[in-house]
């Protein structure tokens, strides 16, 4: 375990997220449904600063009882993080790529102790590519 103190929880409660650097790794901290998430701030597509992108609900197509398409709708219980470079979308909290779920953002376990946010850098969960 290699825990690093990266932020106070109050910072995230104020702004929703924070970009920090541990060693040579940029990490995006996101406060999501009372949990703190930590992703490497590198999109799996071309390396964009994914953690700084829009947070927006997933979109689904809606049909009526007769099978007619009636429009697109937001999915209330599925939030996506969108890379601001090209629009690759990742499902929160896990960081799976919305268009290719077998791929996932590199993420790190987070602990919050005494209001301090700690990230375990040795326990990353997926290989990303910068």
């Amino acid at each position: 375990m290699s825990e690093h103190y990266v932020a106070d929880l109050t910072e995230l409660q104020d702004s929703g997220r924070k970009i920090v650097r541990v060693g040579s790794t940029d990490i995006a901290l996101l406060l999501f449904e009372d949990d703190v998430l930590a992703f490497q701030n590198v999109c799996m597509h071309m390396g964009g600063p994914v953690g700084e992108g829009m947070l927006i609900n997933a979109i689904t197509a809606e049909f009526d009882a007769d099978g007619n398409y009636v429009g697109d709708r937001f999915v209330e219980d599925e939030m996506h993080l969108v890379c601001p470079w090209h629009g690759w979308e990742y499902v929160l909290p896990g960081g799976q790529c919305a268009a290719a779920p077998e791929r996932r953002l590199r993420s790190f376990p987070v602990s919050v102790r005494d209001g301090r946010v700690l990230v375990d850098m040795e326990a990353d969960t997926a290989i990303s590519n910068g």
Partner: protein, 423 residues
Amino acid sequence: MTDQLLNRTGTDLINTGVREGFNTREHLRNAERQAQDRGFDKFTIVDVDAHHYEMDHWPAIIKYIEDPVIRHRAEAAIHSSDPARTILHNSPLPQNMAGRILRERYRRGEPTDGDTHHEVSVIRRQMKAIGIDYQVVFPTPMLELGLHPDPLIEIAVSWAYTRWFTEEVLADDPAIKTMVYLPMNDVRASLRTIEQFGGKPGVVGFMITSGRFQAIHSNKYVPVFRALEERGYPLGFHAIHNAKERMFEGMNRFISVHALGFVFYNMVHMTNWVINGLPERYPNLKVIWIESGLAWVPFLMQRLDNEFLMRSSEAPLLQRRPSEYMGEMYYSTQPMETVDLQTLQQTMRMINAETQLMFASDYPHWDFDLPSTVCDLPFLSQEAKLNILGRNAVRLFGKEHFDAEVDLGTAVEGNGRARVSQQ
């Protein structure tokens, strides 16, 4: 609902792709790291297709419109919510994915470096961040002017734009280049454009926007192609998409229109160009196919070769198969289809990528590529990477357009693996 969600998650503070205000260099800092990691400063990278948003400078451009009535109309449009809409022929579809591509929303507030022209400031930042030494810059909404129902608008606006860009922007930085817009709905205007802007600093060629319906092999264009061939300027066909294209009227999504549109028009022009023997008639006119990606080329090669072998009587000027002519033309990389690397490798073999392919970023558009898109490909040789990233463009445009000491490099460092998206 969207705004509520954005506020709830606190993204107002960091939803710009930057930390404090929009700045291209900061937006692209991960690209800058890629450039440093891969040693892009050790060799020359030429970006043969990038863009800027000329509508940010609409008043500066339209002052050069020579027709007073059209200039008046353009001036009146300044006060509308979308200055371009009332005079250009635009698509209503959202390039920025309903705000997901953040730079389009925030770039207008980007600061200028001192007295440097705003466009020069921004282009220098994007070049520095991405690792580009020379960048060929094209306009954005004006690429649709070839579809305008009034050819006088195409003539007037393209002329004004080119005067502004060559006189007020290109003059400030020899690393920024352009291929000049030819208003091909009017041959005399196109010839005047070649006469006026040929030889101007930064002009490395001329460009036809592919969204237009007149046959490219029409006899009326003979003087244009002769003029370009005599002067040694390459001719680019820059693709566009067009939601109003008759066959696309049933397409309800940007992704659909864009995926087909950017190859559709170039496929039509390429077919006419080859089947009507223009490569035989203008053997020294170099042709570049821009911003259509690459996957369409092997498809068209196979289709045309197969039919040519049966119906060669309909293509009497051809001495060889269509694919052989196509393999001698030039292509820009972006948006390079990288999902299936084996297919991409075959594509590069068929188009003779080592000598005919040129890197293009298309930055800042929504589907831009970085040089790593090329240099991380596992099947390309070092020589091929250097050629695609810079040498092919220097050879095509001519060394006289580049620094005398242009460093074409001896090694390219990929990151040892293809991007995750390519696996």
